[in-house]
């Protein structure tokens, strides 16, 4: 075995998986995991831990995998993360823990994500649960939103003995993990539900179908229902559109709508009562992880799919692995291309997307080279469906109904990074509601920080 190379992970064949919604990556088995763990040199000053937003003690859990003590490894991860089977699948490890790995200087970094996934999957299959609080504190905390930030915050507080209730607006728990990320990247029943059950097993209560800001307010939760502190992890919010002509045509969707129909409402399944457009040719506008998810979903529903992105491949904000998978499956990348108009037939249905070619100029404020229009380069891509994946802007439901809760100029909730403390006493916030659309693990990091902040606040109260 070459110690510079990681143990390859098994994947479903690209041709086959392009036609089904089963998980793409099959993960390690115990033998492969132990073999990969052998490569870890167990650094004293472990850089990988500093790259992890929830500071998992990585060398310590890998040490246990090496020895074949998977249950022990799971309990070590659980000290820091409530959702290891999720994180092992969707974290951008290449820029976090694995990006810091010493092994990466000369060869492949340790496959930390795949090891974490293996440990969490093994624990689930063997009925191992995280350890709960030894004694209960008589203090109530409300958590708004059951996505990654909320689940993490709730899990951490429950482990400390708090009486925690999560309020979820949708009928299903999991937030972006159930409505946003597709089945083929993150299985819902097997992985997401199981990890939520683990959080519940710590004593966390979940009330679905409650929209905070509508069904009740934060002030009412604190004044009338006796909650001592509140964490807001309500997520990103309203989808953005480009504001180009033709965007209201039939056949133009936000990625949020398209993915929610497929993931949450199971529209990819023929038996589902919720419909979804199965276009012949689909353009997905945008280059982030959500764009890749929408594109690969459309592909699986039988469409020819184009990613339309205004910068070049190097600037694609999506994870390298997602782009790689998308290409393998046959997604066409129309890079340095920007839509200027959506064309429709006489009945108002999309029949094309007019684009211009772009070239890269000087770097802009984001440090990426600014795309500039090539004059006279417009052309039409013949499509019947357009999916806009341009990010989101914050949802005002909570900020507009909570006295004393400040938002910034982008309408994101103002909260300090260290503790998630907002401008309202006893109210903490984290995740996309604070930062704007980001990743699952960053939201979890914020949920964790806020749990610490809430614990300090309530310990002094």
């Amino acid at each position: 075995m070459d110690v510079l190379k990681r143990v390859p992970v098994r994947e479903q064949d690209a041709k086959e998986r392009a036609t089904n919604f089963d998980e793409v990556c099959l993960g390690y088995n115990k033998e492969e995991a132990m073999c990969e763990a052998e490569r870890c040199i167990n650094c004293k000053n472990a850089r990988c831990i500093t790259g992890c937003p929830v500071s998992i003690d990585i060398p310590r859990f890998i040490e246990q995998v090496k020895l074949g003590n998977i249950e022990e490894a799971y309990q070590i991860i659980s000290e820091s993360s409530a959702l290891p089977a999720v994180c092992g699948r969707v974290c951008p490890q290449e820029t976090q823990c694995e990006g810091k790995c010493i092994r990466g200087f000369k060869g492949d970094p340790i496959s930390i994500g795949k090891l974490e996934r293996f440990v969490a999957d093994w624990a689930r299959e063997n009925g191992i649960k995280p350890t709960g609080a030894k004694e209960k504190l008589n203090k109530k905390v409300a958590v708004i939103g059951s996505g990654p930030a909320g689940l993490t915050c709730a899990g951490d507080l429950a482990k400390l003995g708090y009486d925690v209730t999560i309020f979820e607006a949708l009928h299903e728990t999991g937030g972006v993990l159930v409505y946003g990320i597709p089945e083929f990247r993150l299985p819902k029943e097997k992985v997401v539900k199981a990890e939520i059950e683990n959080v519940k097993s710590l004593g966390v209560k979940i009330e679905t179908n409650v929209v905070i800001g509508k069904s009740t307010t934060i002030d009412e939760l604190m004044d009338e229902e006796g909650f001592d502190a509140v964490f807001i992890g309500s997520g990103a919010g309203l989808p953005k559109f480009m504001g180009i002509p033709g965007e209201q045509s039939n056949g133009v969707f936000s990625a949020n709508e398209y993915l929610t129909r497929s993931n949450l409402m199971k529209a990819f399944d023929d038996d589902s009562t919720t419909p979804i457009m199965r276009g012949k040719k689909v353009a997905v506008v945008g280059g982030g992880n959500v764009a890749m998810d929408a594109a690969r979903t459309a592909l699986r529903l039988g469409s020819e799919v184009h990613i339309v992105y205004r910068r070049s491949e190097e600037e694609l904000p999506a994870r390298v692995e997602e782009v790689h998978h998308a290409k393998e499956e046959g997604i066409i990348f129309d890079l340095l291309t920007n839509p200027v108009e959506i064309l429709a037939d006489e009945n108002g249905w999309v029949n094309g997307i007019k684009c211009v070619k772009m070239e890269l100029g000087e770097p802009d404020e984001s440090g990426r080279r600014r795309p500039v229009v090539v004059e006279g380069s417009d052309f039409v891509i013949d499509v019947d469906t357009v999916i806009m994946s341009l990010g989101t802007s914050p949802n005002p439901l909570i900020s507009s109904t909570t006295k004393g809760l400040e938002v910034n100029k982008w309408k994101c909730i103002v909260a300090d990074e260290e503790h998630g403390k907002t401008t309202k006493e006893g109210v903490y916030a984290g995740g996309d509601a604070v930062t704007g659309a980001a990743t699952v693990i960053l939201a979890m990091g914020a949920g964790k920080a806020a749990a610490k902040g809430i614990h300090e606040y309530l310990s002094q109260k």
């Binding site: 607006a169 409505y179 009740t216 309203l238 969707f253 709508e257 929610t260 009945n347």
Partner: protein, 292 residues
């Protein structure tokens, strides 16, 4: 689970459900809506609130059971439950935030078409309870399809009923009655609120524009989450994109792009689906399908 305390068939294909939903009943105001799911794996269906009882903690909904999603509701009886029931969603009607003394000086006319009569009721009732009697026009295709007449009578100022076929009350579309009231019967109105099928609201708006009466409509586009997340319900209002679920559902009817809204409402209706709708709806077939 949200328990059904009362289930009634009001007329062909139109059912009333009074449902226990404490949080919603405590917080809701006229003009708002809820989203329900009958059971697991069902669609999320947005429905405008038709009445509420804060003491009992109940919400009343009136549903036309013609779509694939609502068809199942015909079998629901008192004692059964909805799997999911979330709300109140959307903004309340504008007048609940207005100064009551100012509001008392206004002459308001409600125009209710078909099923739209049900969501008009809590608005008229709210005004009545606050000492304001608004006039109401109820329109139905034919006498048998008329709903809420008695309830409305109890809370409205003047109630005018019209049927398309003249089988009861006045004869003809709601727009005819509205025009007659203003042009022939000497009524003046400062404001109109129209709720019904999109096609009806479009024509009421054309009429009130002519008559110079500012008009509010309640839009019911396709929705998924109902909390602003998906953008399926977007409309163009005064040249701006609005989300019916968080900005609405009520908008200035003279600014709504109805043709676009009606076209977008047909997004998931296939040829077969439209045919089925026609069969199921029979005589009540009333727009919505995008073919008429």
């Amino acid at each position: 689970m949200y328990k059904i305390l009362r289930a009634e068939e009001l007329t062909t294909n139109i059912y009333l459900f009074e449902v226990e939903a404490k949080r919603v009943a405590k917080a809701c105001l006229p003009g708002q809506f809820v989203i329900v799911r009958v059971s697991d794996d069902d669609e999320r269906i947005p429905l405008t609130i038709s009445d509420y009882d804060r003491e009992k903690g109940t919400i009343t909904l009136v549903v036309q059971t013609i779509g694939a999603g609502t068809w199942k509701m015909r079998d629901l009886k008192a004692g059964d439950s909805f799997r999911d029931f979330v709300g109140p969603l959307g903004q309340p009607s504008e007048f609940v935030h207005e100064d009551l003394e100012e509001l008392k000086k206004k002459k308001i006319i409600f125009v209710a078409g078909g099923l739209g009569t049900a969501p008009v009721y809590p608005q008229v009732k709210w005004l009545h309870e606050n000492g304001i009697d608004a006039d109401v026009i109820i329109g139905a295709k034919t006498k048998d399809l008329l709903i809420y007449e008695k309830d409305m009578e109890a809370v409205a100022g003047n109630l005018y009923v019209t049927t398309d076929d003249g089988s009861y009350g006045r004869s003809g579309m709601v727009t005819v009655t509205l025009k007659d009231l203003v042009e022939k019967e000497g009524k003046t109105y400062d404001r109109c609120v129209a709720i019904g099928p999109m096609i009806m609201m479009k024509f009421v708006c054309l009429t009130t524009k002519e008559l110079g009466i500012p008009t509010i409509v309640s839009m019911n586009p396709i929705m998924v989450d109902g909390t602003g997340m998906c953008g399926a319900c977007r409309l163009t209002v005064g040249g701006e994109v609005k989300f019916a679920c968080v900005d609405g559902p009520e908008f200035d009817g003279h600014l709504v792009d109805f043709d676009q809204a009606m076209r977008r409402q047909t997004m998931y209706k296939t040829k077969e689906g439209r045919d089925m709708l026609k069969v199921q709806e029979g005589d009540t077939h009333h727009g919505g399908c995008g073919n008429c």
